[in-house]
């Protein structure tokens, strides 16, 4: 008993001196806890826009960026121009409204220019894909992107959508589960050192394995299904066997996980590239809604897809085809 009191006193002294480290919640088995409801939403773009210098934004520049975003999203509440059916209004959207406070011009940190190092042929294909968006032609459901089909927008927790950039993490000693609000996808990552599944068991989000490297959880995903024939909103996120993804999660304080991902694919990029997208439990600091994850029953209510095809058939009929 006396020994225990002494030990407790020792520990008290030690932890009091440990400062920042003690702010990191720990699991009962002594690993940093990654549990919680997290968001990656931010105004800071994945890629540095070509018009922006590769230097940190000033406070004034960040404020201007945030004001521009407010104005843009407000405009979504205006009636659409004649001939347009319009899109979601502000009520349906929950975009990140804050630039990251460190002022970085892009989430991509490597290469240092903040740009995706596309191979020229892959860039051309991506540009062509992008040009199809909202334009068509729409012969079949496969002419809609995988997100519009309620399947997936692909891997990573990069904040690319204007809503649902929320993730809930559950952690046990041998598994990490990440529930993505978008498309109610989840990933259950074994941490027990088991081998990857055979490659022919291709998976949409890859086959993920995690291991602790000091206080960082490293998740490697490979064995992606080949869905490269589909149309993806972000072609670099498309499921394809040549893709390998490495994600690093390090809890730095009560509110923050440093989240980094490295994308490798020699068929698409001239070199691996890395982005850093800090995750926070402080949704207000990013200007998004706080609270638990909602069920995103996308497919169940997908009226847009059949209506787009219906519209295309009607247009063809009117054109006398």
């Amino acid at each position: 008993m006396r020994e225990r009191v002494l030990a407790l006193a020792w520990c008290g002294l030690f932890l009091a001196g440990a400062g920042a480290a003690a702010e990191v919640p720990m699991t009962p088995w002594g690993k940093p806890s990654l549990e919680g409801v997290w968001t990656t939403a931010t105004l800071t773009p994945l890629e540095r826009p070509e018009t922006v210098a590769a230097a940190p934004l000033t406070e004034a520049e960040r404020a201007e960026m945030e004001a521009d975003a407010e104005a843009l999203w407000e405009s979504f509440d205006q009636p659409p121009p004649p001939g347009s059916v319009g899109g979601y209004n502000r009520e349906w959207l929950d975009p990140g409204m804050k630039a990251l406070p460190d002022g970085r011009p892009a989430l991509i940190v490597d290469p240092p220019d903040g740009r995706i190092p596309w191979r020229p042929d892959a860039r051309a294909a991506a540009v062509a894909e992008r040009a199809r968006y909202g334009v068509g032609p729409y012969y079949s459901f496969t002419d809609l992107d995988t997100g519009e089909r309620c399947l997936s927008d692909g891997v990573t927790m990069a904040p690319l959508q204007p809503y649902n950039m929320n993730y809930q993490i559950f952690q046990t000693e041998d598994h990490l589960a990440i529930v993505h609000e978008m498309y109610h996808e989840y990933r259950i990552v074994p941490l027990d050192g088991r081998p990857f599944v055979p490659e022919e068991v291709g998976q949409w989000l890859g086959d993920a394995r995690g291991r602790w490297q000091d206080d960082t959880l490293v998740i490697v995903s490979k064995g992606f299904a080949d869905k490269s024939d589909y149309y993806w909103a972000w072609p670099w996120r498309a499921a394809r066997p040549s893709l390998k993804l490495v994600e690093r999660l390090r809890r730095v304080d009560r509110k923050t996980i440093d989240y980094e991902f490295t994308v490798e694919d020699p068929e698409m990029f001239t070199r691996p590239w890395t982005a850093s997208a800090p995750m926070t439990t402080d949704q207000a600091s990013r200007g998004v809604t706080a609270g638990p994850l909602y069920e995103f029953a996308c497919h169940e209510g997908n009226y847009a897809l059949p209506n787009i095809l219906r519209g295309a058939r009607l247009e063809a009929q009117l054109a006398g085809e």
């Binding site: 720990m26 046990t172 949409w204």
Partner: protein, 264 residues
């Protein structure tokens, strides 16, 4: 280095102590049973929760693989105590199951059906939450163990689940489910007023008793209970794999609106 080790031990010791306190809050004193793992029902409740003989699948020329297995039923007292109009509707559902069964469109399965699909589910259990992840359609639901007053913000396909431990049993209240899901492939159904009281209790390390009491005064004469075993997948390699079935039903759902792409 030595300081690092001392700190690590202190942190670990403190975390163990705090973790015990936390778990103790939810479960008086001792540790909660560990339900983590991959589970699957083996019976035929998926085809019909009531006792039934094997029968042909729906459609004009069904093949052997579309047929339903026979089953002894999982309903206490064998028959669901439907109100008379609801039994009529269930029979209509059965006759039209080829068109009406929402699972055929890869819609989220709802509770309790999700738990006895012929696909595995994985439980990820922490002191404050239980995640039930289902292979079918990548459905999941979060059971909140730490938020008894948390009402459903909105109705959903998989419902709103709040749980607590009663001794060795995980008790889950499921509310706010949409009326669109079925209880099986035989057209057994519920309404929007459905309340499901679930009980999960281990019967040995690899058998999980699943009981659900369904109350819906708009559809049933009285509350009724179904009960079955879920079995642990023992293959050490077992993991949930994709069953993203949206991809498998798009032609069924949108094929009529699609056209061949003209040759470029």
């Amino acid at each position: 280095m030595r300081h690092g080790r001392v700190r690590a031990r202190c942190v670990r010791g403190f975390a163990l102590w705090a973790g015990t306190l936390l778990a103790g809050g939810a479960h008086a004193g001792s540790a909660a049973p560990d339900l983590n793992g991959i589970w699957q029902a083996l019976g035929s409740a998926h085809w019909n929760v009531e006792p039934h003989a094997a029968h042909a699948g729906p459609g004009p020329a069904p093949d052997a693989l579309a047929a339903a297995r026979g089953g002894l039923g999982v309903v206490e007292g064998d028959r669901i105590p439907y109100q008379p109009w609801a039994r009529v509707r269930q029979r209509e559902n059965f006759r039209n199951r080829g068109d009406r069964d929402p699972l055929r469109n890869c819609f989220l399965p709802g509770v309790p059906h999700a738990n006895y699909l012929p696909y595995p589910l994985q439980i990820v259990q922490t002191p404050t939450h239980v995640l039930l992840a289902y292979e079918f359609a990548q459905a999941s639901r979060t059971v909140y163990l730490d938020r008894p007053g948390f009402e459903a913000p909105v109705d959903s396909w998989m419902g709103h689940s709040r749980g607590h431990w009663e001794g060795e049993t995980l008790v889950v209240d499921v509310t706010a489910q949409r009326a669109d899901t079925w209880l099986d492939q035989a057209g057994n159904f519920h309404g929007a007023a459905l309340h499901v009281a679930e009980r999960y209790s281990l019967e040995g390390p690899n058998h999980l008793r699943y009981e659900a009491t369904l109350t819906d005064p708009e559809v049933y004469e009285r509350p009724w209970t179904l009960s079955m075993l879920l079995y642990r997948q023992m293959d050490p390699r077992a993991q949930l794999l994709d069953f993203k079935c949206v991809e498998f039903v798009e032609d069924r759902m949108y094929g009529e609106l699609s056209r061949e792409k003209p040759d470029a």
